[in-house]
């Protein structure tokens, strides 16, 4: 029978091959799903893996969706490497968007172009504040951060709903639950005309460099990860685990809030009930598939963005529900976790003992 045998050392090969194998398995399952639904699997795969790449405009759209995913995932990677389980990035994203919108709504025709900076900073602060609630409850009350951060996602949705149905509703908006469209000065500057790519992409790539330096080149980043890997060793070295919890949550919350600000003042341009698009949850998968490594997550963010765009195309062109994106995201994470077994174990055939 097939037996798992512990490797003397974790396999470096499988650490990087595992996400690739997981993608292959997900695609195979996807083909099976298309056949099961009576749809042409080749056309289905085209929607996900060819259409998003085939023109300069499509590539730009791919980057537009990859940007928030990457920004959130960078924060989560710092958090998960510290062994802090923030799974409420979606809520921090929403509150970041709300705070950014609050500043953007203050602008009028005469406002200086520099208000964009305030909009973005407000988003970061909003996300940090929302994550700080989780950090405070974990620090002072030892409350489980998984459950608290997730509950706060629902609360954040309620806050958003209250504002767009209530005090922030556009009086000239035909009673639609949305704010007025923000003034043009609050718009995150675009990189070029003809594409929706914005400065956000540059910020995300700078974030990759920043996260890489922090995690692998600074003492603080090292302390953060030792606390995650070996709490006892970390205590012995005098690293504060309380500080690590706060830092992990503030960084990931701030990143999620930043993504929220970039979204609401970028492609969206107003606050609507549709701000939560699941990026906060998808970014968890991005972080894992990218091996919690800043560079790896660039690839996984683009992959996840393909899943989003592919899902939208599958809906408009093949009549499939858009939620197929969520199915594939879940399958990818499942396959990855299963493939990761190969990092620590190897498979051996063994005759059954008598």
């Amino acid at each position: 029978m097939l037996k798992l045998e512990l490797r003397p050392q974790a396999s470096d090969f499988w650490r990087y091959a595992s996400p690739v194998l997981a993608l292959v398995i997900t695609v195979a399952l996807g083909i099976g799903l298309f056949v099961l639904l009576g749809k042409d699997p080749v056309r289905g795969l085209q929607m996900f893996f060819w259409e998003p790449l085939k023109s300069a405009y499509a590539l730009g759209e791919l980057m537009v969706k990859a940007t928030p995913l990457l920004v959130i995932a960078l924060g989560l990677a710092v958090c998960y490497r510290s062994n802090v389980w923030n799974i409420g990035a979606e809520g921090q994203f929403v509150i970041g968007a709300v705070a950014a919108a609050g500043v953007a709504l203050l602008a009028d025709k005469e406002t200086s172009r520099w208000i964009v900076v305030a909009v973005v900073l407000a988003g970061v602060a909003g996300g940090m504040f929302w994550a700080a609630i989780t950090a405070w409850l974990k620090d002072k009350f030892h409350a489980n951060e998984i459950l608290v951060s997730l509950m706060l996602v629902y609360v954040a949705d309620m806050v958003l709903g209250y504002l767009v149905y209530g005090p922030w509703k556009d009086p000239a908006g035909y009673n639609f639950p949305q704010t007025k469209t923000f003034e043009a000065v609050t718009q995150i500057p675009r990189l070029m005309s003809g594409s929706r790519m914005s400065v956000g992409l540059i910020i995300a790539l700078l974030g990759v460099a920043g996260a890489w330096i922090f995690l692998f080149k600074t003492r603080a980043g090292f302390a953060q990860q030792v606390g995650g890997l070996a709490p006892a060793a970390s205590r012995y070295a005098g690293f504060s685990s309380r500080k690590a919890v706060w830092l992990a949550l503030l960084v990931s919350g701030g990143a999620a809030g930043l993504a929220g600000a970039l979204e609401v003042a970028g492609p969206l341009g107003q606050l609507t009930p549709y701000v939560p698009a699941g990026y906060g949850f998808a970014a968890i998968i991005v972080a894992y598939v990218g091996r919690l490594h800043p560079v790896g997550m660039v690839f996984s963010a683009v992959l996840m963005s393909m899943f989003y765009i592919g899902g939208e195309l599958a809906q408009s062109r093949m009549g499939l529900p858009k939620s197929i994106t969520g199915v594939f995201q879940g399958l990818l994470l499942f396959s990855l976790l299963a493939c990761d077994t190969l990092v620590a174990y190897r498979l051996r055939w063994q005759s059954r003992r008598v």
Partner: protein, 306 residues
Amino acid sequence: MESYALLIAATLNAGTVLAIAALGLLINEKAGIVNLGAEGMMLCAAIAGFAAVVHTGSDALGFLAGMASGAVLAAIFGLLVIYLGTNQYATGLALSLFGVGFSAFVGIGYVQEKLPPRPAFEIPFLADIPLIGIAFFKQHPLVYGVIVFVFGLMWFLYKTRTGLVLRSVGESPESAHALGYSVRRIRFCAVIAGGALCGLSGAYISIAYTPLWVEGMVAGKGWIALALTTFATWRPARILLGAYLFGGVTMLQFHLQGLGVQVPSQWLSALPYLATIVVLALISKNPAWIRINMPASLGKPFQPGS
């Protein structure tokens, strides 16, 4: 007065949803496994149960379909976590994310369907008592069933040999293994039982609690059920009481709206989630208290011979 009787009835009903799922998760956790996939299993079970009732017209088949789908998803989770040694938190999270997407995907054809309201099961004579009858004795059979189940589970966990083995696997898998018990098989069975109960709870939501299908209709109840096991310090009877408490908070929002309290509806809708956070914080404040009550090997993987 009658509105209060109805409030109590609705509280018991809402509490039942949470209690069934939380008791399933309790069985998992007593065996040492945390399944964060509760929300996903409940959603898949909700659509499976709903679809089964739409096609067959039989509630019993609907509940069975829900339990089966919960059990199947739990089996996948168990296979990964117990036999492949994957991280329990990450795998459970994957199950929840998958369940949200998959149920929405499958459910798209059922959004227009509606089931007739379920007839309440009236307990003879008792249901005729004014007010008290309305409050307690005109409920769906599962509302009574869950109370019976709690006593059954208490007897199983604390009075039977199998229950003792289950708990020992969650406390000290090494000792259980040394005594010759198959830790992994016992944990696997516990995970499947927990999944089936989460499935039953999910199916109850879409068949009886709100007889329709809406994307994401479980609305965090799986996560609240997870919080309930901590809140109840892993005791079955406290889970039931906690579930009624949270059911009451959920129902309070509708009651307050009915009374014409001038609070935006969103703030009231946020109440159950805020209550979960507050209660979780208060109960966790004393780590020693949690440590004494928590199954000692909760969340820790076990591979025999390693």
